[in-house]
Symmetry: C2
Subunit: 331 residues, 2 copies
Amino acid sequence: MLKFDEEKQRNGINGALALRDRINEVADRICEEGYRNICWLGIGGTYASCMQTLVHMNEFTEIDTFVENAAEYCATGNRRIGKGSIVIISSVTGSTEEMVRGVEKAQEAGAKVFGFIDVETAALAQMVDYEIAYPANEQLKFFMAADRFMFNKREFPEYNRFYEEMDAHLASALIEAEKEADEFGREFAKKHKDDAIHYFVGAGNQWGAAYSYAMCYWEEQHWIRTKSIHAAEFFHGMLEIVERDTPVTVFVGEDSQRELAERVAKFLPRICGNYTVIDTKDYALTGFSEEFRGYISHLVMRAVTQRIDVYIEQLNCHPMEIRRYYRRLDY
Amino acid sequence: MLKFDEEKQRNGINGALALRDRINEVADRICEEGYRNICWLGIGGTYASCMQTLVHMNEFTEIDTFVENAAEYCATGNRRIGKGSIVIISSVTGSTEEMVRGVEKAQEAGAKVFGFIDVETAALAQMVDYEIAYPANEQLKFFMAADRFMFNKREFPEYNRFYEEMDAHLASALIEAEKEADEFGREFAKKHKDDAIHYFVGAGNQWGAAYSYAMCYWEEQHWIRTKSIHAAEFFHGMLEIVERDTPVTVFVGEDSQRELAERVAKFLPRICGNYTVIDTKDYALTGFSEEFRGYISHLVMRAVTQRIDVYIEQLNCHPMEIRRYYRRLDY
């Protein structure tokens, strides 16, 4: 399989899952000391992961928790971030300008910052109050933290059962999903590599997936135009520009908002002949109970879209690591 | 001027401003009785207005206040909406399916609903706990409510001075803005009526403006493709697909997030030869103090974009009231 290193994938995921003890140590300490609210602070791709975590928590929790965009926070502020606030962040480089300023501002306001900064020596890693350094797997880290906070509040009683399945089966389930998706990924890439624009629709944890896949992969890395739209909003405007040949892909997950994406998926065939439905239900996820499949739907979708990416990269002769402007120009 | 009825505009705005006593009566009663949090519940265009109200409040308030999308709320729920919650909504038709179900759900959870339902006899108008019926001017109604809640909490001390200026000058300021924008609107429409896709960028209260203008006007009413992107997010992916001929319009307002939009506006000339900056600062807004201009930036932008709309409608021979699918098909 093109650009697929099973061993590396497995170790990456299992290594992230193994952070759980350290995450719990931090979360348990915070819970013991008490906190007022939890802010998920991000920008770009990490902002999308924040949104995914929030929609997961919204299902279960009464914790006062919200998402902030780092640049917006720097400009407008947010008086709910202050003493007693826990700000949770993630950063690959640890140097994103808006994040550095956002963390400074939050700490000045009295908040404590819990950071997953991949590079232990980076600026952000030095600044945060609690730091756990491990590469990639951002959503997994966020969800592990969120689930622990909810578990400690007795809002997520399935915690132990769920993480038993995660530890035992997640790596294999995602690796198998990639294998199952490979042929689809190749065909999809062939069909859509020249699209003038491609629409991605999602809801629940698939909204962050659609948002970041469209923006951080197709736009940023493949230089293909996209629009992402929440399935809830699709019927309130965007539907009118969908015609026979409009390329639309619906991400259908298995969390609480599955029905919203299904509604779009059921409607599209009536007005469009160029749509695709990617449904996480089609993937085996061996070892996972029915009730837990929704919690990892966004990870399954990423396994699938990864297979699309490698083929678009190859077919379009466009290495995914090049950028036209990002960090190439000052702005 | 094409499709411009000054008298009607003036009466519409002044009539909306005159609702303030009734809005305050409701808000003051709620504040007296006490409340736990305020949820702005919307979908589509009203969701955008909710986001505009929230970003305005975030500047000033410690009130626990948040935005919910009605369809997402119906699917996922939100345990923070319950006894002590005030849910604020607006609806033109009073029959939008997701809103009706959302209001039912919130009330079942123990929340009180404060509705601006244009049609007093509509389903939603009958359901809400507090109802004020008056056509259009949704953002104005939301901001009047928000400002009163903040004033009552001593977080918006400029309330009286601000609304003196609003009552005295808003209608004229917006009418004059439309006149000032007319020639620009015609030229913009001529230049962009055939765009394959048009990008709209905004921040602060201009984010909701860009989001809803792109989706509810260009997509829904002109059937032209768009993507809206928050200025904070522009630099985290989307920038890579902007080239010389990409049509990009930046909405620059005068609220706390002006700097975020300015950053995009300053960057674009380096990489794009087909961009437009619409800056509310270019409009006189006679009678308004400098400090208050930002609070009405989104209304000024709507005055400007209204002039674009009438010319696109005329040039494209596409009446804005027709829909291909919305409320024409069951879905």
